[in-house]
């Protein structure tokens, strides 16, 4: 049996929830499919206070922002959330398949909003498959969702915001954080997060990387080495450091596999951290009726993911003829909000990436 759906939102993170909020608020019927057992996306494990502007609830802890959105959507008469439901495919005829409790389900949506977020990148070095080597996301989930102390003695790789925040949260959980290793010459994350670690006595070693890991059956330590200005290891600088856990926070990349499947025009855009669907000013991909919002269309932040979700949600409402006048105003307001969010020096990379997307869109007009 194929179930007809008006608006199908894939992924219940901040982008998906805000897309549902907008579309349903204008009168559309929305079904959210979320592979996790709870909706909220990355917000579920963000126990720290968020940066950003007040309109996107900055100053609040991520987890509370998520809970608020989830509660609102759970109680919304026009919205249904199915958790533990992984979308498996988007087919040429527009049918979407999903797996829930070992059941294979099919949907035929009028509009699809893909809001699947991101996947973690991995590093290649000898013995990187030893047990005890984790992505930062897994460690954060164990700690903040599962309540499990993830390690006794850890080395963090990556001094971007994720690496810094997760390191600090491990300190709070009683883990011995030996150091944060960062290949770049500078700390990528915000100074507030770096300062907290430094005040606690954790060294942040810029210009260093992991040469290899060692251990008999499980991680026992790593060999670190210095990098020259061309990012090449400097011979003779190797040091051996004991640890039971190595945590990799070396960046995220858009989880855009469903957009690929659907045949969307995709481009590799460095500034957006990977392959992204090329979208128009309504966030519609090159495939009619399929939209993309949040980290899936470029790694950014929860604040912009929420506004992108809202933009896509209202754009879908307009295209379905719901509350058109107000929804169109909301679309324009969201666009203006995104411009403002990305206006600072931190937004430079995103602006460059989006300019490339716009160029690709122009180049492949068909």
């Amino acid at each position: 049996m194929i179930r007809d759906v008006e608006v199908l939102v894939i992924g219940g993170g901040p982008a998906g929830l805000c897309a549902a909020q907008a579309a349903a608020g204008a009168g559309a019927h929305v079904l959210i499919l979320e592979r996790d057992d709870v909706p909220g996306g990355q917000l579920v494990k963000q126990t720290h206070k968020f940066f950003g502007s007040e309109r996107q609830y900055a100053g609040d802890r991520g987890i509370f922002i998520g809970q608020m959105l989830v509660e609102e959507m759970t109680n919304h008469p026009n919205v249904e959330i199915m958790t533990d439901t992984t979308v498996l495919g988007i087919y040429e005829d527009g049918v979407v398949t999903a797996l829930k409790d070992e059941q294979h389900l099919k949907f035929r949506p009028k509009k699809i909003i893909v809001a699947t977020g991101a996947a973690e990148k991995f590093l290649t070095f000898p013995n990187n498959d030893l047990p005890g080597i984790y992505g930062a996301g897994a460690v954060q989930t164990l700690m903040n969702v599962g309540g499990v102390k993830p390690a006794d003695k850890v080395i963090m790789v990556g001094a971007g915001n994720i690496g810094l925040i997760v390191s600090y949260q491990m300190l709070q959980a009683g883990v011995d954080v030996v150091c944060v290793v960062e290949a770049a010459p500078n700390i990528g994350g915000f100074l507030v997060h770096a300062s907290k670690l430094r005040r606690a006595g954790v060294p942040i070693c810029t210009g260093w990387t992991v040469k290899e890991a060692y251990g008999d059956g499980k991680l026992e330590g790593v060999v670190l080495c210095r990098l020259d200005e061309k990012w090449q290891p400097i011979e003779g600088t190797e040091i051996k450091v004991a640890c039971d856990t190595l945590c990799l926070a070396v960046g995220l990349t858009p989880l855009a596999e469903l957009c690929w499947q659907a045949g969307c025009h995709m481009e590799f855009i460095r500034e957006l951290s990977g392959h992204v669907p090329v979208t128009d000013e309504n966030l519609m991909t090159s495939v009619e009726g399929i939209y993309a919002a949040g980290d899936v269309s470029g790694i950014e932040e929860a604040s912009s993911a929420m506004v992108e979700g809202r933009l896509a949600g209202y754009a879908v409402a307009v295209s379905l003829g719901y509350d058109v006048e107000r929804a169109q105003k909301e679309v324009e307001a969201a666009r203006a909000e995104l411009v403002e969010l990305r206006s600072g020096p931190m937004g430079g990379k995103i602006r460059a990436g989006l300019a490339k997307v716009a160029e690709k869109r122009g180049g492949a007009s068909c």
Binding site: L88, E102, K106, T124, N128, V210, R270
Partner: protein, 116 residues
């Protein structure tokens, strides 16, 4: 990104494919992720290439001196994660008349076939 991988470093964790195996493919003249996938199974495990796809793309980019922007990606097909034959069979049985399905009437394709 600094690359400290040696020949034994695993690039595809699901299928235990080392960097050496990927480099051998490239030395033999394979040029795309899909070709390498077909001969080694890299990217065909439970995570469906989520981790190794970009790592293999980087090796291709380095070996053939093409920017990452131009490395041809593999074909993405459903499902995004492995599922049991049982789940598919259950869906099929509930969709079509059970007796007909079991006696094989629906099998010759007139009504079946949903792409999987």
């Amino acid at each position: 990104m600094a690359n400290n991988a040696d020949k034994d470093t695993i690039l595809c964790r699901c299928e235990d494919i080392t960097r050496e195996m990927i480099l051998e493919c490239i030395a033999e003249g394979y040029q795309t992720i899909d070709e390498i996938k077909r001969v080694t199974r890299a990217g065909m495990g439970p995570c469906q290439g989520r981790t190794c796809r970009l790592l293999i793309a980087q090796e291709l980019s380095r070996a053939y001196h093409v920017p990452m922007e131009e490395v041809l990606m593999s074909t993405f097909r459903p499902p995004t994660k492995p599922l049991t034959m049982g789940a598919l069979a259950d869906a099929w049985l509930s969709e079509y008349d059970g007796d007909a399905a079991i006696s094989g009437r629906a099998i010759d394709g007139k009504e079946g076939g949903n792409g999987e």
